[in-house]
Chain length 274, copies 2
């Protein structure tokens, strides 16, 4: 559709991250002899869980495919370079009550009512903004799901609030777990999934060369992305792709075609050395 | 199993209300010519919802089957007579937020966090005890289910707390709705299901005759039961069945065989006039 004088591609997944993948596919097909030795990797289940993540599986099954001096992720960055990423933790906060018929609720203990302080603490939580290697990272602690109850006439004996904590790359996974346990002190806390953040790492020569070829000022990446897996391997990695990351997963997800062209031009400039 | 010197039948549904149904089936088969003109009714979906309730469907499809001077429900009463019942209301209390990627939670509005005051009000709620026609009814207001969230990386845009309100028969359904709306003022409230309570109604002659044949002191019934449907038709109705109603729907549901025999004897005494 036309919008604000430009053409925009509208629809779920356009930003995160079909547009980035489309650019990569086009360049992989067109540039037969790039200046660098490029391995293109496209994979599934990026955001679902550690054990399903395609890059993580590749790392375990074919580690030789992931030997590199530098990695570029096609994550949406509105066609700018974004360094590093926040860490990502999911945990279940659980309450336990006693089941009973709701006509005689005083015989039971309502696990959903017991969860009130969990939501109170989340609602009152003030997230930090943390500077790491010159870039400012914004954190977050949010309920992503809540589940409790058996039937319309039963006092529930269990309630589970799943929370998602995004933490600055200066905080270790262990410190993040400790922090979540402190916030929900007094409650049953189960860590479901955790992934370390990644420091920006833009000071190595190969990263500098890429930044120079593409142009523009690097920014911090808020969300956890798979750059952290490359960081874990000692490989500098950046995010660079079309689309506003704020629109990822949103009802009004959409990407300006101009950004798709910009990323194509940026990557082409670096890959061809022109 | 043997327990406290008596034989006890253990298992889901023994109290609510397989034991009561078993007694009725036995008496229906054995007593060919009861002193009263008896219509035995067994039906399904008693507690699920108004439109599914078997007695309600019978009332609409074959109303002639429900013409009577008196009704006895086999609901568990620990083999005592319980008059009347509380009203029963279910409502959904809903919050609305704005969906976003959880890596950038500040862009969205978390509907689960917005539900914190709903659980706070439920946890702080003090239920009344109300005397009606000489019997004391205890009320209740409880969350029975809570649901919210889309995925582990999305700020949820909706959260629903389903509440169940049990109200004394002196309060009309309209007053109960008003009360629930007041408790959750400021929130979106949808009434899902409502059923009026029933006053004890033990002062009519036919009810008195039954009480005399069976013996014992009538008590109030806390839970909503289908006596209220008979009340609505102008037919006095009582609850009378084996099993402790506090164990209905509980993990440790169980019924003493002695209560099954007592109810069989009580109903037999009245039906045969012996």
């Amino acid at each position: 559709v036309e919008e604000d004088g430009g053409t925009v591609l509208v629809g779920r997944g356009t930003v995160d991250m079909k547009a980035g993948v489309a650019v990569q596919l086009k360049l992989a097909a067109e540039i037969a002899e790039p200046v660098a030795d490029v391995t293109w990797i496209w994979y599934d289940h990026e955001e679902v869980g550690e054990d399903l993540n395609g890059l993580n599986r590749l790392l375990h099954e074919h580690p030789e495919q992931l030997r590199a001096d530098f990695a570029i992720l096609g994550e949406p960055t509105a066609a700018g370079i974004e360094g590093g990423c926040n860490g990502n933790l999911r945990a279940e906060i659980r309450t336990f009550g006693k089941r009973a018929h709701s006509a005689r609720s005083w015989v039971g203990v309502n696990a959903i009512h017991l969860a009130a302080p969990i939501l109170d603490r989340l609602a009152a939580y003030e997230a930090r903004s943390v500077e790491v290697d010159g870039l400012l990272y914004r954190e977050g602690l949010n309920a992503v799901t809540v589940t409790g109850g058996i039937a319309g006439n039963v006092i529930p004996d269990e309630c589970v609030v799943q929370v998602n904590h995004r933490f600055a790359p200066s905080r270790s996974p262990e410190e993040a777990v400790q922090h979540v346990r402190e916030v929900f002190e007094g409650f049953d806390v189960t860590i479901v999934d955790i992934a370390a953040g990644a420091r920006p790492g833009l000071d190595v020569p190969v990263a500098r060369a890429f930044v120079e070829a593409v142009g523009g000022e690097p920014r911090p990446k808020y969300g956890w992305t798979d750059v952290a897996r490359f960081s874990g391997l000692g490989i500098p990695a950046v995010n660079y792709g079309p689309g506003d990351p704020l629109l990822a997963h949103a009802d009004d997800e959409r990407v300006p075609v101009a950004q798709i062209h910009a990323v194509e031009a940026g990557l082409r400039a670096w890959l061809t050395g022109v």
